[in-house]
Symmetry: C2
Subunit: 479 residues, 2 copies
Amino acid sequence: MAMVVDSLRLYERLAATVRGQIETRTFRPGDRLPSVRELSRSSGVSVSTVLDAYRLLEDQGLIRPRPQSGYYVRATFSPRAAEPSRSAPLAMTVDFDRSELQEAMLRAMGREDVVQLGFALPDPDLLPHERLARLTSRVAREHPEASYGYGPVSGHRALREQIAQRTFVAGAAVSPDEMVITSGCQEALSLALQSAVPRGGVVAVESPCHAGILQAIYQSGLRSLEIATSTRDGICIEALEEAALNGIAAGDPILGCVVSPNFQNPLGFLMSDADKQRLVDLSRRYGMTLIEDDIYGDLGYEVERPRVLRSFEGGEDVLLCSSFSKTLAPGYRIGWCIAGRRHADLRRLKYGLNVSAPSLPQLVIAEFLSNGGYDQYLRRARKAYAASVHRMGDAIARVFPAGTRMTQPQGSFVLWVELPSGADATRLYGEALSRGILLAPGRLFSAQDGYGSCVRLTASQWSSKVDEAVTALGKMLRG
Amino acid sequence: MAMVVDSLRLYERLAATVRGQIETRTFRPGDRLPSVRELSRSSGVSVSTVLDAYRLLEDQGLIRPRPQSGYYVRATFSPRAAEPSRSAPLAMTVDFDRSELQEAMLRAMGREDVVQLGFALPDPDLLPHERLARLTSRVAREHPEASYGYGPVSGHRALREQIAQRTFVAGAAVSPDEMVITSGCQEALSLALQSAVPRGGVVAVESPCHAGILQAIYQSGLRSLEIATSTRDGICIEALEEAALNGIAAGDPILGCVVSPNFQNPLGFLMSDADKQRLVDLSRRYGMTLIEDDIYGDLGYEVERPRVLRSFEGGEDVLLCSSFSKTLAPGYRIGWCIAGRRHADLRRLKYGLNVSAPSLPQLVIAEFLSNGGYDQYLRRARKAYAASVHRMGDAIARVFPAGTRMTQPQGSFVLWVELPSGADATRLYGEALSRGILLAPGRLFSAQDGYGSCVRLTASQWSSKVDEAVTALGKMLRG
């Protein structure tokens, strides 16, 4: 291995070499770097020098260690595409209706001739739908009661046990008895909000955030308050604290807070453990119930399974919502809410809303999870999504106009892109749609009028068609 | 055939003979009587005398003609068991919480050692679950997108088409495009209420009515107003009009009204077409949106398919809610709301609540319905439920204390029983449960404190076990 010889110390020189390998994409984001022993041998330096070099690169945010596994290249983009700046704090809102836009997008989703970068759909080719179909045949035959009986209100225990096991891996020891199976994460969020926040109450949210969260708040008769959020670190805890204090002073306190610390949609950030603990502490100090949307929690590029808020000290009252829609089967509509002491409330709300979740998909997923292979599949999916997101990032950096900024997601499969000043994202959305490309304009991610120059692009699949679509978007923007 | 000879006219004597055959249960409710020609021949009277006799029995409410089919024995009970009286008008209510009772009932439902007369569950042996399981295997294999994709927000068109066809048979020509597939009838009612009545508004309901309706009203942030209802004719239209006028006078008008004209749960009545038209007229006059719960509409004993409110003049704005939970597969959680001009609203609410209904059960039911055989199955089910309800009615009349009253349902598979004055239904519920019999106490069917001496018993199945349970209940009541 050729070494750059200059005034730097030995480990700094080695680090520069490795950085060069990363910059030239010899090692791409998500790739494992040579082991410490291998690099020591190949570069002729001591093991401790290699360790120093890797630690330097880690401090620089370029690589990341994984216990018992080695060092991996972190998600980064070319310096040309800077990250969007932190969003500004925004005003309270009581209404959110983007139904016209959503209807138009839904119509486009159904069209075969449209390149689908608009909805956060997982890659069908990755999802284990064939195995699920085979399991469905067997479970339908073996469990006639899944058809002729009403299932348990909280959901089938076999599935709840599997979910509790997986939640344990995310750091939280929970019981299957404090959980309710729902029709997807969206319903889990609705029920969590209704159980935790009295009608008319204020709920803080990250800004930007997934439209579904704003809809759930509005449809539950609540008000949303959008909080400044960093594209890299998550919700700004200082801004949240300030808003909490303002609310108390005004006699209209923030009663709930919906956050997605793990690979938020649309920003893709992963909150640090320290910030997660601060968030939990803050929620307790000001009497805000935290509702965590963890739907992308299993889809981190480098971290196998980040911790959920419930696993932090004082986090027992966090309502944890998620689903299998991004990882197994969107069409099954199976999600859950781990509700802790609010379990009876949530169960009552679920019963009153639609009695219980359908039985068959629950039993099929429980079978799939208990038979193993899910983690292996997730590893493959994580790697694939990291690769396709990075390819789209590269393409955007190449073809979008100068001044474009975009996120550096740590997980999930979407990119948040801020167009150069003056560019109108809603107009781009319209023009793109007329040319057979569906994207999500920024105004879908806020109940305010913000994000007019932002778009979210789904990058769950990379193909020449997607490549061409991104190139076409670049051309539209260059006018 | 032996004839009773007395001072009566010939046709009256013939009618008395036939009545005797019905009273001795030679011909049981639901049975077809001899054709006019057969009886003319067998009794040696003219065809017109037989027609006169049959018409007399029809006027007496004992038999019923079916076009192109003949005369059938109507649902009647022994004179000993009178019907409960009309319920009294009750006050407005903003809250309804029977969760403790419901939780206890749900726990009991899961126990194998409990005779289940408490929930309105269809008979598993009647439901076509084996055929549905076979279809499930095929559909899962042929439609991988049912797993990997999000289904349409309004539901799959194949199913909506089948439902529109069936609604046409119920008298209303509707388009598949004005319908949203939901997670059961309960969710359909919730969404219908939310789309039709602004938060805080007043909704009139039949009293008693299904607990789910009261829960849906309360969880949607609305208030309920219970209206006097006849066990035989349905909601008292005069009482509803009076309540509507009072509401307008008080500046707090009734904005919605949930009714089940076809075989209401728990009373089992079938409203006459004349009353249905009056109800539609009244709703238009006072600006109340009608929401029809038609979940038992296909389960009439004598009427193959009664008309839905939408089919009456001026009924275009009635929101029609139903599901397959009583007729095909409770565990599938598939229902619908035909929303007419409110369709876009309902779609938006469904999307915000839980995106869409799961795909696979929709496609399976669509396949089942389009392959025929559903009507044949329904005929069998209707006959079976009529028989088991009548057997339970007979048993109650035999073993319950004198003074017991009960409904004479025209469809569905439940009986509403009013215990003799002084009897405490909640106490009976507790005592029965401790002896392994689950029933539904009357307080579940009102947000007021009424119906303390009423119970609903499910009679979807008749067996020696159920027979023994009813006998045991009678003993408990006799002390």
